[in-house]
Symmetry: C2
Amino acid sequence: MGCWLKRLRDKYQRDCQAVDKLCPRSKAEKIQQREQELLQLAHQLVHEVGLNNVTMEKLVSASPYSKGTIYNHFCSKEDLFVALGVHSMGLCAELMHKAHQFSGSSRERALAVHFAYHLYGLLEPALFMCVLNCKTANVQQKASKARLAQLDKADEDIAQLCDSFFTQGIEDGSLTLEKSQIAAVSFANWACSFGTNLLLQNAASIYAISRLGAANKVLFNVNLVFDGMGWQPLSKDYDYKMSWQKIEQHFADYVEMLN
Amino acid sequence: MGCWLKRLRDKYQRDCQAVDKLCPRSKAEKIQQREQELLQLAHQLVHEVGLNNVTMEKLVSASPYSKGTIYNHFCSKEDLFVALGVHSMGLCAELMHKAHQFSGSSRERALAVHFAYHLYGLLEPALFMCVLNCKTANVQQKASKARLAQLDKADEDIAQLCDSFFTQGIEDGSLTLEKSQIAAVSFANWACSFGTNLLLQNAASIYAISRLGAANKVLFNVNLVFDGMGWQPLSKDYDYKMSWQKIEQHFADYVEMLN
DNA sequence: GTATAAAAATGACGTTTAGTCAAAAGTGAA
DNA sequence: TTCACTTTTGACTAAACGTCATTTTTATAC
């Protein structure tokens, strides 16, 4: 067994004992709690070995439990991945909520959401991929219904949060749009940001991307889409590079974690 | 062994014999040819069982060769996937070349490229995912250098082809852009289209997408980006839904294959 | 045609891993 | 303490990747 596996397990046991001392729990609560702790452990495992080298065996070794007990929590490896996906979407939602609090124009706040999404991808590249993985047919087949319902719920929450940024733009008059079109516009924004982040993460070395130089690609792409929507002020009339920097400061706590 | 495995192998053997009769080949050519035939076989296997159920064992069973011989061609499963990725990007490039021949405005021709990419995703959903998979760190580590070079080459070819559509727009005056910005704009278009297709394929069931209704999502998203670039005529001044239909007719041969 | 050396093909084997299940251990009520 | 029920355990099976000693084929020289 790798020494880091032992280290993970020891830390895990200390954590469990600490939590137990602080608040004695009922049986059901303990099981619920243990699941969260196993997820934390799996999360660390992802950082140690990378998403596609995570195995149930390693999770078993890193935890003080046996294989059977782990399978009581997660009916398959894919079920574990979906649980990790849900877990990481929590962080994503947290960042997006923080974007909501950015003070500026509605377009700037929407830009802050794209920043948040980008930041999420940088902070948790493996889990960003994991969420995509959760959507594939293979994983959908093998994960439990209950787990998939959690995933759908998390998706819906984030979608509604994103919608609210466009609603704000409509309300303050900077964005001219039928309310019925919000869904389509929201999807377009998501798709653009999703594609940009995914490609930057996974294809940075190829010609089409490496030739781009140092300019901020996310900002550039988002500006294209916002301008296409006619969201005032247009990028030719306003310095959104400055906004981006301000947004970066707004997220300073998280940006720090990148190092 | 599944009966379809036997069927695949029998068909493969008939094909080999037929090809051999038509044109006797040198040793090196035979090996080269066999690799192509193995790729065809793997491609069919993907259709039969889905990308993540393709195993080297199944490819061995479906071919008349032994495991060792298969591994002479592909140094790992990941190497096979990269080969499949390169293979499928050939189809993608073919479709994009056809888009180049669409007669219309330069913006309409660029729209045709997005159509081509979308069509590619519909025709080969599994291989579309496979190409993405090829970019992940895991696959990059396990595939052979030679194979990865092929992949980069294919990427570069497609990127340059895409660039040419924007160059046309600049030359006919409908698109105002510095030549130096083509790379950035090209990437933005790719990212948007990539994200849109990927989400439509893998997340169609979730709330944020299922609520969108029947409207053409790719066209909508591409129009946003083109409008953001200021590519004339803007979507408010021109009926691109009509263009989309014309493009669909232009690709009628391929569209037929969807059924 | 035969001998010999090089190249290619073979498939049994070692290893890793997902997932199962009968047996053991634990828990709480009577 | 007993007994019924729940939870945990880890040995086991099957699938799959990749290796390599052995066998077969092919090319060349005589």
